[in-house]
């Protein structure tokens, strides 16, 4: 009953005119960002964070805007998958398999509508899952001491690294570099400067926004410049006629089971730390193909092959918010970026968030429901508009993205030094993409490094230096065991999963699993 009261309060906050307006803007921008090939939810949110932050919005409206962008981008990813055969972001990869054939066969409108409805179903039920699961997780998290937190952070790094990359050494490197960057600055416990090399700019540490925007947005521009002229652009002719945008009843009935299965699988994939939306849509599609068996025409334009992965990736987006809000551990790349947003608003996610800032949490959850309904209303009738926007050539789009990244950081810090640092992160991000090193663990390292070390040192202070406190409770042992499993298992699983995922059409590694 408590939950429903809190949710009702949340709706009271989210239903103000300002917040509704922000949700609408966020949904529109998000759909646009998701639809444009190359820009996924993590890039979209990364570019907008500094902008939103320098606008000086209070916490709740800022969060509403950015999560609407997040949900919107998860919706939008399908549009270019279906019309151009280019996934707007990685989770939309699976949608190309049946969506594009449907569009080729003159069913573009139906494919877009079915995928829009499936996105709604997935996100809607996942948000309910968030409502019920997150408070439960909070109760569990209240049992945590510093040692348990340390074990949980270890788990987050192990699984996020393990899933985002097939090469564990590279995932470990990425996490280590992120943690090393977190050390830069004054040590919180003893007040001595570390790794600042006497440079005053480094005394208050490296702002993760600079790292995020540089690694995601600027490196994206470099990748675009590099790939220009290499891609065989003739292979993807845009589908220009949308056709009817209301699917027949029989198609809805046929796909309802797929949506349900996709939602459940996607939500589970989202809640697991590190798995994220790509795994959600991949699982949903693969299981759907198994369930339907030979009765389906998968790969040739089966509507169930569109409904299942779309429900899956949007449910995963909601699921990933569960550990992010309740434990402060992001479940995916984009939630890592959202975590950065929370931290820069001086809100620390985790169990205390629900007691200290109930307005923020429940306002946010209510806004998710509202955003989701807005997205359905925007996406089904206005698909023609988004399809037309897809024709903006990248040579206008990417420069605008680069410039907005510069503005965001400059408006925040007014410092040329920070811009240079951002460029350096951009070049580093490009190199990491080339070498297939995941970028999300780096961000996570910068974000969580300080907390992780603080908890480790606190635990050892409590035990007076006795290391056994780190594995002294069943919870800590469970987390550490899961961390080892999460780090080691993908090495074996990758052998089965990766080859199938690699078949998919041209899409460059954007360094996230989300």
């Amino acid at each position: 009953m408590d939950t429903f009261n809190s949710l009702a309060n949340g709706f009271a906050i989210a239903l103000t005119w300002q917040n509704l307006f922000l949700a609408l803007i966020g949904c529109f921008l998000g759909t646009l960002i998701g639809a444009l090939p190359g820009l996924g939810p993590s890039n979209g949110v990364a570019i907008l964070i500094p902008v939103v932050f320098s606008l000086g919005l209070p916490a709740t409206p800022a969060l509403i805007l950015l999560t609407s962008v997040y949900y919107g981008a998860m919706y939008g990813g399908r549009i270019s998958s279906i019309l151009l055969n280019i996934p707007g972001d990685e989770p939309a990869l699976m949608t190309t398999l049946d969506g594009y054939p449907m569009a080729r066969a003159g069913q573009a409108g139906e494919a877009l509508a079915i995928s829009g409805i499936a996105s709604f179903v997935g996100a809607f039920f996942a948000t309910w899952g968030l409502v019920f699961l997150a408070p439960q997780l909070v109760d569990l998290a209240l049992l945590f001491g510093p040692a348990e937190y340390f074990a949980m952070f270890t788990l987050a790094f192990a699984t996020l690294g393990g899933v985002t990359s097939a090469n564990q050494a590279k995932a470990a490197f990425a996490a280590a570099i992120g943690l090393a960057l977190a050390f830069v600055g004054v040590d919180g416990q003893t007040g001595v400067p570390r790794f600042s090399f006497g440079n005053v700019h480094f005394y208050d540490g490296i702002d993760f926004l600079i790292a995020i925007v540089g690694m995601f947005a600027l490196s994206e521009v470099l990748v675009f410049i590099e790939e220009r002229g290499q891609k065989n652009s003739t292979s993807t002719q845009p589908v220009t006629s949308i056709g009817r945008s209301i699917p027949p009843w029989s198609m809805l009935k046929q796909t309802s089971g797929s949506m349900a299965r996709g939602t459940v699988l996607g939500f589970i994939a989202g809640v697991l730390p590190g798995a994220g939306a790509s795994l959600g849509s991949f699982l949903a599609y693969t299981v759907e193909k198994k369930v339907v068996g030979k009765n389906g025409k998968f790969g040739q334009g089966d509507p169930r092959g569109v409904a299942a992965p779309e429900a899956g990736n949007n449910a995963a987006a909601g699921g990933a918010l569960v550990p992010m809000l309740a434990l402060g551990v992001p479940g995916s790349g984009t939630t890592a970026v959202l975590l950065a947003m929370l931290l820069s608003l001086n809100i620390t996610p985790g169990p205390l968030l629900f007691t200290n800032n109930p307005d923020v949490v429940w306002g946010l959850i209510a806004a998710l429901f509202i955003a989701n309904i807005m997205l359905l209303l925007l996406n089904v009738p206005m698909v023609g508009l988004f399809a037309r926007i897809l024709r903006i050539p990248p040579y206008y789009l990417m420069p605008a993205v680069a410039m907005i990244s510069f503005i965001g950081i400059y408006a925040l810090t007014n410092s040329t030094f920070d811009l240079m640092l951002m460029i350096a992160f951009g070049v580093f991000g490009w190199l990491m993409r080339k070498l297939n090193i995941p970028m999300v663990p780096v961000i996570l390292g910068i974000l969580l490094g300080e907390l992780m070390e603080k908890n480790l040192r606190r635990a050892l202070t409590i035990s007076d230096g006795d290391m056994s406190i780190l594995y002294g409770s069943p919870l800590a042992v469970t987390f550490l065991a899961m961390a080892i499993a999460g780090f080691v298992l993908p090495i074996f699983i990758a052998k089965f999963v990766t080859p199938k995922r690699m078949v998919i059409p041209e899409s460059h590694n954007d360094g996230t699993s989300d």
Partner: protein
Amino acid sequence: MSDRIFGSATIVLSLLMVWATGLIEESFIQDPLGPKAFPLVIAGIMGLSGLVMIFKPDAEPHWPGLVKLAELVATVGVFVAYAQSLPIAGFVLSTAVATAFLVWRLGGTTRQSLIGGVVIAVGIYAVFQHVLGLNLAKGPWGF
């Protein structure tokens, strides 16, 4: 080969980290672990991951040719010049020039680059400065 080179660089980096950790001054406030231990553990993990990259490298990535590489270096150069010129030349002029370069390198014609540069710079300025009220860099002309 790329992985081996990168792995070696990673090991050098981890050794540098160990050296820099040694430079950390001890404070009179102390906890059992101190400010040095965790960085050393992380440096160790980094070094190990570098070793694995040397002994078990992935397939070679596709590196750009010399011309492409020069183009990328030039782009980074334009980014740096842009960052440096923002406080001097102001937002609109610097952005127009940098954007025009990017449009041109991403495949726009000369005319598209010039128009794109001016339109994007002025457009962003109008939206961010006047609608959103962000403080963008001011040049000698006030924009």
